[in-house]
């Protein structure tokens, strides 16, 4: 017998345009590998957008969190277009406004400030994962 545990799909901006894209991507990996490895899976955005039925089916069946680097919100828009609205969206550039002393400068070589931002974003994603799974459990109990 296989027990399917609730999972949250993380759809991260993989943007090469801005440092915020790199921050999204690395923060997502930290959540997947270190903070919530049992509760999350990644959905590869290029593969998802290129038409992978597996990725799209997962995003239809399980809740997703979009992690976007900037206000274009490509991960949120793409997920909504092909599978369904994400249950939550985290926008790195919005969170950065709460930490004006931390600047994102490089797209490929992250310095100390960018690494601190990565940690902050990763914690935000993990918190959102807990909320999503908690909400799901509560609504399941009430039915």
């Amino acid at each position: 017998m296989t027990i399917v545990k609730d999972k949250v799909g993380i759809v991260s901006c993989s943007g090469e345009d801005l440092p915020e894209g790199t921050i999204s991507r690395i923060a997502t990996r930290i959540v997947l590998e270190k903070l919530r490895p049992d509760d999350t899976v990644t959905i590869c955005l290029p593969l998802f957008l290129a038409g992978s039925q597996d990725e799209r089916a997962f995003a239809r069946a399980f809740p997703t969190i979009a992690v976007d680097g900037c206000s274009k919100k490509c991960a949120e828009v793409g997920t909504q277009k092909y599978s369904g609205r994400p249950v939550a969206t985290i926008v790195v550039s919005e969170i950065m406004k709460r930490h004006p002393h931390l600047k994102a400068k490089s797209r490929d070589n992250l310095g100390d400030e960018e690494k601190e931002l990565v940690s902050i974003i990763a914690e935000e994603i993990a918190k959102k994962v807990d909320e999503v799974l908690g909400i799901k459990k509560k609504s399941g109990a009430s039915n």
Binding site: S14, C44, P46, L47, K72, G78, D108
Partner: protein
Amino acid sequence: MSAEERKVAIVACAGMDKALGSVARACAFKVVQDLKPKESVLVCIPPLIIGVNSHSEWINKYPVVTIDGCAERCATKIVAEKRGKIRGRVFIPNGVKKHGLKPETSAEIGPEGEELAEKIADETALLIDKILRK
């Protein structure tokens, strides 16, 4: 052809699933930032799909080089679907075989992954020269 027109659009896999996606991404940065900053523009796949104008315009205006990280070849598929003019294709797994270098993980490609990205970036720069000479 004016200097502004003599450019190649680079569309790279930025896949998070595999280390080779991260190598593709690192390779693209080396090309557009270090090796061919005046002759290339980096097209970001997500905005291309959701229809951000500048990205769609670039793949129609300039010859495109796609850099794919795995056999799914998402970058190539997406550019073909958007009717971009693909003039060159780089396939990272071929570079792995050719150079015998193995990246570590998606999050951290490690020294061999960096070296691999550099070598493939050098080859991509030569490809750009060839395309622009035509």
